[in-house]
């Protein structure tokens, strides 16, 4: 690649014009039909009237062109200080590459959905060719140094405004993306979102946003919560997506609990789903269901606490061997524990043990929650919007998740959290420094399990029925994968991992049969090439790349507060890989 780059860089001047030509072609392509039939993507068969996905393709072409045009103007007119704020050459390369990926994916999606390349109309070809020309030509540009926009002193109100705009865009994107029925359109849109974030990072805008986020953490948290809270209003009263969203939140809440155990304390737990199951079974047996085997029906807040405590007790039980075993052995112990839990729940049916769980029938017909006169099963009309059953639970889960995140973040920053990290790094050294290793390990297990139990108690009511076959090893593997995928030890990472693992299978039904295969391959590839996850914790990233001095220096050079923020970490690694 480097020889290609050397060859190209001799032609930096003309390349700008060629790249511009390619970008214009991409923009023109948006106004031409891409497909022969309307069924593919979001109907891309019109002349002069682009669909939304075509507009997105146009946008990438436009950004490429804008960067290419603005870069020399900026270089000629602006002061050196101003010039270095944005890296428009890098932006142009990124936008052109993003264009190529996007156009190619759109074309492939059309070809797959309609059956063959023959179904592609000229617009699709023009887009791919234009983007390819632009991508190749922009490689010849001088890369320049890192954008310094993130160090730009900005008034707080502007930073907060930036955060709000970004989150509003996220909300619009989430609402729009979830509404896409066509799998090709969903993939294309998802790819676009990832590419857009990447382009912004390359230009340097993402750096500014993450600096703003780091400086206004409470505003960020508040705004994120508001955005998540507003989400049901974007669904027009439809419960289909809210049911998926509720699933994502349950998964995220459980994974967040697991993140304490795995991400912070470094104890791999392969049977974690048992804690969610324990919470769900506890809530089910204490519910008003006609199938509940215990005659006691306390109000839900108490049930929630009991469920958490039952799980925490199990956590203590499973955590106690950690005094003696560690590492891989512990992982296997927890796996065995998860299997024991599942089989035991299956056996407590009255014929192979006392009748508590009704065996594989489980406990169905769990009634909707009715807390303080608010029935979660009924639809409500709020400000003219229909809010259905799953939206009610979504809000409850959002509260639970917020609680778990608060616990997680505070623990992470506290003496306890530092103790966990010390244990993760070197157990003996930690013990020598006076860290109560056994106590902290137990606390990690019990605390994580408590949170999972609370999540499970809500899950029982959302799901209506609780059966042992919901709590199998594969679910534990998914939880671990969610953390690994997103990035161990970070809040954002877990949320991203949960969203990817729960959302993609729902939206990409066309590869339903290949889901697990891809999942397995994903784990292998992630471990091989990016073991720290998509949004890693900076400290942890260093662990995985111990030999990488450049990364370490970069981490040192950066101001401390934005170390852990997503954007900075992302751009840092991209730099390092480029």
């Amino acid at each position: 690649m480097s020889t290609l780059h050397e060859f190209l860089s001799r032609w930096a001047g003309p390349a700008r014009w060629v790249g511009l030509g390619g970008a214009v072609l991409v923009m023109v392509a948006a106004f031409l039909p891409w497909a022969y039939l309307p069924a593919a993507l979001d109907n891309v068969t019109y002349y002069g009237e682009p669909s939304i996905l075509q507009w997105l393709g146009f946008a990438l072409g436009f950004v490429t062109a804008a960067c290419l045009v603005a870069s020399p103007i900026l270089a000629a007119k602006a002061s050196p200080r101003t010039r270095r704020l944005l890296n428009l050459n890098r932006g142009a390369t990124a936008a052109a590459t993003a264009s190529l990926v996007y156009q190619a994916i759109a074309a492939i999606a059309v070809a797959l959905e309609l059956g063959g390349l023959i179904t592609l109309e000229p617009g699709a070809w023009l887009g791919v060719v234009g983007a390819a020309v632009a991508a190749l030509a922009t490689r010849a540009l001088h890369a320049g140094s890192d954008a310094r926009l993130r160090y730009l002193p900005t008034p707080a109100w502007a930073q907060i405004l930036g955060i709000v705009v970004v989150l509003a865009l996220v909300l619009v994107a989430a609402a729009y993306g979830l509404g896409l029925e066509d799998p090709g359109a969903f993939v294309a849109f998802g790819t676009f979102c990832g590419l857009a974030a990447w382009v912004l990072a390359r230009v340097g805008i993402m750096g500014w946003i993450s600096a703003a986020a780091a400086a206004n953490r409470s505003a960020l948290v508040l705004a994120s919560f508001v955005v998540a809270f507003v989400f049901p209003f974007t669904q027009n009263g439809s419960d289909a997506n809210m049911s998926i969203a509720a699933g994502v939140l349950i998964f995220a809440a459980t994974a967040m609990g697991l993140n304490i155990v795995v991400g912070l304390a470094g104890l791999l737990d392969l049977g974690y789903i048992a804690f969610l199951g324990a919470g769900a079974f506890t809530a089910a047996t204490l519910s008003e269901s006609a199938f509940a085997t215990l005659g006691w029906h306390p109000p839900f807040p108490i049930v929630m606490l009991i469920a958490g405590c039952v799980s925490a007790l199990l956590g203590l039980l499973i955590g106690s061997p950690t005094l003696r075993v560690s590492g891989d052995y512990l992982a296997i112990v927890t796996l065995a524990f998860g299997e024991i839990f599942r089989i035991t729940m299956n056996n407590l049916d009255g014929s192979d043990g006392p009748n508590i769980t009704r065996g594989s029938n489980g406990i169905p017909a769990i009634p909707n929650l009715d807390v303080f006169g608010f029935n979660f099963g009924e639809s409500h009309v709020i400000a003219g919007f229909d809010i259905g059953r799953f939206a009610n639970y979504y809000w409850l889960l959002l509260l639970v998740l917020a609680l778990i995140i608060v616990v997680f973040v505070n623990l992470n920053k506290s003496r306890i959290g530092r103790g966990w990290v010390a244990i993760r790094e070197d157990e003996r050294a930690a013990e020598a420094m006076g860290v109560n290793v056994f106590g902290l390990k137990l606390l990690a297990f019990a605390g994580g399990a408590f949170l999972a139990g609370v999540a499970g108690s809500v899950k029982a009511h959302v799901d209506v029925s609780v059966t042992p076959d919901q709590y199998v090893f594969m679910e534990s593997a998914f939880l671990v994968a969610g953390i690994v995928l997103g990035g161990m030890g970070t809040v954002g990472g877990v949320l991203v991992g949960a969203a990817i693992l729960k959302l993609l299978p729902e939206k990409l039904r066309f590869f339903e049969d290949y889901r697990l295969l891809l999942f397995g391959l994903l784990l292998i590839v992630m471990m091989r090439f990016r073991p720290e996850g998509l949004l890693p914790d900076q400290r942890r990233q260093l662990e995985f790349h111990a030999e990488d001095d450049e990364l370490a220096e970069e981490a040192d050079a950066q101001a401390l507060p934005d170390l852990a923020t997503a954007g900075a970490a992302l751009s840092a690694t991209k730099e390092d890989r480029a």
Binding site: I52, V172, N347
Partner: protein, 405 residues
């Protein structure tokens, strides 16, 4: 420099606003999907495991419903309406099933749904269809509590929109018990796989067998993911039964039969419709001669509607076989179509006809591929014609058909 920033922000907003306005314009146009020559559209849904370990059965269910819908359209069964088919994957898990159910209930064109395969999924999605008022007809849920409620001694229908075309455990088990007793077998052992289907079947069998004067000498359970049954077989053998009744499905029943015979326990193994599958004989090997299974309805050879289904299925050229629940799925889809013949013609839209469809389903009566289809006051199939099949020369042969009361 602030100008640049503003420009970047503006362009972002521009993109978003352009996107949103674009959306408005194009949605105003008539969409091409309405199609069908001016006919109104009603959808029949399916919820089944289309991926994962049970996908072979799920695919058979999907194809059978697809066949029924295609046939209805071809014969113009409901004038002025075009039926469409929407299949959703539940991955055999209640979580995914719930999402599939909300997706179907959120579609205003959906008027009836076939599925699911697993009773555990059924439990999770019953209330979703109940609150949407959409009929759910399961071809495979055999757990009696799904229709009769928690307390079987005081049955009360819990979900008025739930029906099923298969029989429940409390019919097949006693029928098998009666057959064995009539063959002069007085001592049996039962084994079940602890799944809802198998356990229910074995329990119902054991109760009826004891009431009929027989003795159940041993009641064993296994794990559905077990391979090695030698310990259980030795234990059963020591109890000296004259037959083994197995509650479960063929993936375990086949190897169990083979291991029984290999361990010197040369007595027949009997089971329900979950083992009535050619794969059972393949797995059990040549020693399976004499093994028994019960199944609903008269044998396909004696039933014109069943023969018609088998030949139509073959003619449609599906990649997968119709599997254990294909006939029930076909009947479930046809039950919905029969009801639609009553409810749809006068309706303005599919969603408006939902409650009328539920009403009409209660009165449906026709000859299906698995036998006579009609629903009683709980939503269970009234058909009680059952057949005992016996393995002879490497194939299932009908041994006795009876209207079981």
């Amino acid at each position: 420099m602030n100008r640049r920033l503003a420009a970047a922000g503006l362009s972002g907003l521009l993109i978003a606003s352009l996107a949103l306005t674009g959306c408005g314009q194009r949605n105003a146009e008539p969409t091409a999907s309405g199609g069908g020559g001016g006919k109104k559209v009603a959808k029949i849904g399916l919820i089944a495991p289309l991926s994962g370990g049970l996908s072979a059965m799920g695919a058979g269910m999907r194809n059978s419903v697809d066949l029924a819908v295609k046939q209805a359209n071809a014969s113009n069964a409901i004038p002025g309406w075009e039926l469409q088919f929407a299949a959703e994957d539940d991955q055999a898990s209640p979580d995914a099933g719930k999402n599939a159910a909300t997706k179907l209930t959120g579609d205003k064109d959906v008027i009836g749904v076939v599925g699911p395969l697993n009773s555990s999924v059924g439990q999770a999605i019953q209330p979703i269809f109940q609150s949407a008022g959409i009929p759910l007809v399961s071809p495979a849920n055999t757990n009696p509590t799904l229709t009769k409620g928690a307390d079987l001694s005081k049955p009360a229908r819990a979900y008025s929109t739930y029906f099923r075309t298969c029989t429940t455990d409390d019919v097949q088990g006693p029928f098998a018990a009666k057959y064995l007793l009539s063959e002069g077998i007085k001592k049996v052992a039962t084994i079940n796989d602890k799944k809802a289907y198998g356990q229910g079947l074995a329990t119902a069998f054991a109760k009826a067998f004891a009431e009929g004067g027989g003795t159940v000498v041993s009641e064993e359970t296994i794990n559905p993911d077990d391979k090695d049954f030698s310990a259980v077989v030795s234990k059963v053998k020591a109890a000296g039964p004259a037959a083994v009744y197995y509650g479960g499905e063929y993936p375990q029943a086949g190897p169990l039969s083979q291991q029984m015979k290999a361990a010197g326990l040369a007595i027949p193994l009997m089971g329900g419709d979950g083992i009535f599958d050619p794969a059972f004989i393949e797995l059990a090997g040549s020693t399976s001669n004499g093994d028994l299974a019960t199944s609903v309805g008269a044998p396909a050879e004696s039933l014109d509607s069943a023969k018609a289904f088998v030949s139509a299925y073959a003619a449609a050229g599906y990649k997968e076989g119709y599997s254990a629940y294909g006939t029930y799925s076909y009947d479930a889809a046809n039950a919905i179509i029969e009801a639609l013949k009553v409810s749809l013609p006068s309706a303005s839209s599919a969603s408006a006809a939902r409650s009328a469809t539920v009403e009409a389903l209660n009165k449906v009566k026709f000859a299906g591929a698995s036998g006579q289809v009609a629903f009683n006051e709980f939503g269970d199939n009234t058909s009680r014609i059952l057949t005992v099949y016996k393995v002879e020369g490497g194939a299932w042969k009908a041994a006795k058909t009876e209207d079981f009361q």
